[in-house]
Assembly symmetry: C2
């Protein structure tokens, strides 16, 4: 058989971004793109770099290795008045633009709606005609797991702000699931200042999180867990505790004890993979071995699904009981309410999802996953920017706490990077300050500033980020398109438009933005525009939907929204 | 009942763009947008201006009258370093950008794919949260029916080029349907230099086209029609002839006569509305009165549909017979092949659709519906640009013919405008020449340059413009998104991203571009970039799909396509 090798797989490749101040391209803007695409494929960053996969299933940095090589070659030659076009990971054209235009324009995975399915995607992808860009994989600004820890941290902090006057010390969070995403919960809770009790049914998952210090200790049983919670909350120590067991069995027991005067959690949530009833949720009464065996055996799938769904109903009932006691309870985007509802739990949706409850208020202020990367490769550059953020925002205590603990607890992956949710009125101040530090030589090399596509103005995703918008415009994707056009007009260094990130083909459209602070005056002008416009367009989108907080933010920050003024 | 009036309907409104050289805005770029949105609603241009409807069903220029007023007010104040954002016809924000950025950025009717249906659209539209932008309605560059005449003309000219060495004189086109679009056929055939025989079953439709001089004469019967054809083709006169009757009855008769040595058409096509079997296609043997009655009576719909479909099968069989005789035969996008196929005509798709056959070769050269408008309002300005085009392209005879006859036969609607398909290497020369004429005062005011969204690089529409792409990438919409980003980066004056134009919700994504030639050096630089990049990105898209003609064009015009060179 004459099989040509897969052009996307090359086991010989080990990619790592260049460090230091020597340029491989004609200027720092193109050098930044050159380093960041390579950084996305650093073995410490990417999940499967030899297949060009960065994260999130099959989210790639380039369509195949030939395209990757040609992207690098083209960036090396690109002039300061040219723009490179990337179409689903392939470098398709170089056109004359001007110095204030983006150097790279990217469109990944976009399909005309009627054809926007995984089937059609796969057909094109198999033929080498397409690529899944996820969010920051195909737009070259992924920074590893710091992002999920920070997102979870901000969610918990916002809950603390809404329910506990901004102080989570002496409080505890009850949750379950220590998997790929859920494993960030104990560390995020600690960083937010709270204790946490984390139920997980697989010892291996607990072991992994103990080893990487994402969770502090494991309790022997429920009694021991509650004893530890009582002890540490009393001392206002933010300690995270894992408990081996099935959430559907343990939560009802904790409800019973709370009703009988025992400890009562201060926040309840869940990150088991209830969205996948075959692989994601252990049914009550089953051993993990039974569960894994049933997963492998299609003839048992119906029974497994049924048992898992029934258990989810019990689990949600316990969450509803906590909710009824007045404990803030949220769904963390794993669809568990829907599963319980389908099982007959009529009031499953009594407690809200985490986006409407905690993320949207942040979006209304333009806050979102702002991040930056030191092109020098030197961690000291990031530590200096950490200090600068503290200096710029002296009253933002939870950000100070985050920066201190992130430095201590989170290892850099690839080029040193930091993430930190800043809002409208803050981001451009940070950007300009970093640019000034580059200009003055306080940093060894320029800083790349970007964000996730999941941000205030850059995503339409009706099952997640734009679920339950006040005016019902969850599915309107004019907003991310405008965001991309505006960032292109403002002079971001690269801009991207993707489809299907996070929730898959057909379910989302979103835009990315990256801008380089190279210490020049021109960069300062661009930063001042783009970092205001980018999150300003998010405040605009939420103000348009009728959120009071966004309308107030727009007024306070002096946004010009014609129909609001009219 | 307390019904608030529909904010989209205002019978008191009569909108007409200002003419002359007095500015209502701060510069000509914003003045252009200010005049063009109003021109779209000119009673001579728009189909239902008091409901803000420009064309194409419910394609609107603004969401409602309050939004329209606020768009004008905002444009009046907009500075040369600001950009106005329009979200489905609503002015949602003004942001700081720079003089080389677009002054207006537009996103209309975009929905996340899973929700991209007319049902969801209607729900949002009813609540005043959305708008259908069609193509040039919501992006303010519609110029009336000159567009359809020119598109049909180019199609016929290209057919002549492919089959008859570029000379249609003494040739005749056989078609049917003189409705809204189809009525452009006889005039387009005449302008292309060919005779035409146009079968139409309603005398009223023929009368309308005789009155407006789109068709020259009506034949009494088949014999008379063929006599006229014989006479005029012999004299090489491009005369259009209407014939009252049913195409499904007349075409088979014409086949019989051709087989018996009678006149043989040189091109066969059809623009009855076969895509709508209730309202669009008269069944054989039915009178028009019977047909209209059955349309009104739902109980007769099944029988009507059945009879119409059967007749389409007969009609297509006759087209196949001509095709088999070697007569170039094409489907004009009315779905008649599919109807016949469903009726058992197994080889219905033996003849091609008009896009792959005739439009795509033009797209491969970057040719598409380039158009411009005289902001002065003075027809003389357009006549001078007509002359300039002839001067610039002395060998482009069919364009000379088009310009002469368009001037003579097509009345201006609203601000004087011209459309003319130019390709890569031509458009920017035209744009720069117009800019020079403005600079020198040869024209009374600046010229607005734009195009339809249906163009070489700006549309993904798998049932029409991108049907049957060579590499199967019909549904990939990265291309129109890149087109919009690139035109934003290059400095077009306004840029738009729409969904659902032409073929409805879910079936297309497309981008618009308008750029103003105000006679300045800055405009010249922008024109030189944008008018190359805009159609260059179309040549790139077709070269990437593997079309040889596009690859050649790219090489000849010096496009930089990295993976082609690699
Ligand atoms: N909306 C968002 O932005 C967002 C963010 C993060 C996670 N999520 C959702 O959260 C869920 C978890 O994500 P993940 O990546 O960590 O998934 P994962 O599959 O890696 O981890 C799930 C964990 O839950 C454990 N588990 C399963 N059933 C259990 C039970 N009955 N009791 C206790 N533990 C049990 C599993 O052993 C596993 O470790 C997913 O549904 C994901 O979609 C959503
Ligand atoms: N793909 C494209 O870009 C494109 C462009 C133009 C038109 N079209 C298609 O062409 C068709 C015509 O468009 P329109 O806007 O002119 O439609 P229309 O409904 O306004 O006109 C159709 C005309 O056909 C006549 N007719 C119907 N049945 C007939 C019969 N059996 N014999 C003779 N005449 C008959 C009707 O009386 C009517 O005048 C539509 O299906 C349209 O979608 C496609």
């Amino acid at each position: 058989m004459n099989r040509s090798p897969d052009p996307r797989i090359d086991p010989s490749r080990v990619v790592r971004a260049p460090r230091g101040t020597e340029l491989h391209c004609k200027n720092w803007l193109t050098e930044a793109a050159y380093r960041m695409i390579q950084n996305n494929l650093d073995p410490d960053v990417a999940e499967n770099p030899q297949a060009l996969v960065v994260y999130g299933g099959i989210g790639r940095a380039a369509r195949d290795w030939a395209c990757f090589d040609q992207i690098l070659a083209t960036l090396r030659e690109l002039n300061e008045d040219e723009s490179l076009l990337i179409q689903s990971g392939k470098p398709v054209g170089v056109f004359k633009t001007h110095p204030n235009a983006p150097r790279v324009l990217i469109a990944n995975s976009n399909l005309v709606p009627k054809w926007a399915t995984w089937e059609h995607f796969n057909e094109l992808d198999r033929k080498g005609l397409f690529m899944y860009g996820q969010m920051t994989a195909g737009s070259w600004i992924y920074i590893g797991s710091q992002g999920i820890v920070q997102g979870t941290f901000e969610t918990f902090v916002e809950a603390g702000r809404q329910h506990y006057g901004g102080d989570l010390s002496g409080r505890w969070i009850l949750t379950a699931g220590l998997g790929g995403m859920g494993g960030a919960q104990p560390l995020a809770a600690t960083l937010a200042g709270a204790c946490s009790l984390n139920i997980e049914c697989q010892q291996s998952s607990i072991d992994f999180r103990l080893r990487t210090r994402y969770v502090d200790k494991q309790a022997r049983d429920i009694d021991h867990a509650l004893e530890l919670i009582r002890e540490h909350t009393a001392k206002k120590e933010a300690v995270s505790i894992a408990l081996l067991g099935n959430a559907a069995e343990i939560l009802p027991e904790l409800v019973k004890r709370a009703q009988a005067g025992g400890p009562r959690p201060d926040i309840v949530t869940d990150q088991t993979s209830a969205h996948d009833l075959i692989h994601g949720y252990l049914p009550m009464g089953w051993t993990v071995a039974q569960w894994k065996a049933a997963q492998q055996d299609p003839s048992q799938h119906a029974a497994l699904k049924e048992a898992a769904a029934k258990s989810c109903a019990v689990h949600v009932q316990a969450m509803l009981d906590f909710h009824a006691m007045g404990v803030p309870t949220v769904d963390y985007g794993n669809n568990i309410r829907q599963v319980a509802f389908d099982q007959g739990v009529k009031n499953a949706f009594d407690f809200p999802g985490f986006v409407p409850a905690y993320i949207r208020p942040l979006f209304c202020e333009g806050k979102g996953p702002f991040r930056w990367v030191a092109l020098s490769g030197d961690p000291e550059d990031i530590y200096k920017t950490d200090a600068k953020i503290k200096e710029l925002f002296p009253d933002n205590h939870h950000t100070h706490r985050w920066l201190d603990m992130a430095r201590e607890r989170i290892a850099f992956q690839g080029l040193p990077a930091r993430i930190c949710w800043l809002g409208l009125g803050e981001r451009h101040r940070a950007g300009l300050a970093f640019n000034e530090m580059v200009r003055k030589g306080e940093l060894k090399a320029p800083i790349v500033i970007g964000r996730d596509h999941l941000d205030t103005g850059s995503v339409a995703s009706p099952n997640r980020e734009t679920e339950g918008m006040k005016d019902g415009t969850d599915a309107v994707s004019d907003w991310p398109l405008l965001n991309a056009l505006l960032n292109t007009a403002g002079g971001a260094t690269w801009v991207s438009l993707h489809h299907g990130g996070g929730v898959g083909m057909g379910y989302s459209q979103h835009a990315g933005m990256v801008i380089v602070a190279d210490g020049t005056d021109a960069a300062a002008e661009r930063l001042a525009r783009v970092l205001v416009n980018d999150c300003g367009s998010g405040v605009m989108r939420h103000a348009d939907a009728g959120y009071e907080l966004a309308i107030e933010t727009a007024k306070k920050q002096g946004l010009h929204l014609p129909m609001l003024r009219a």
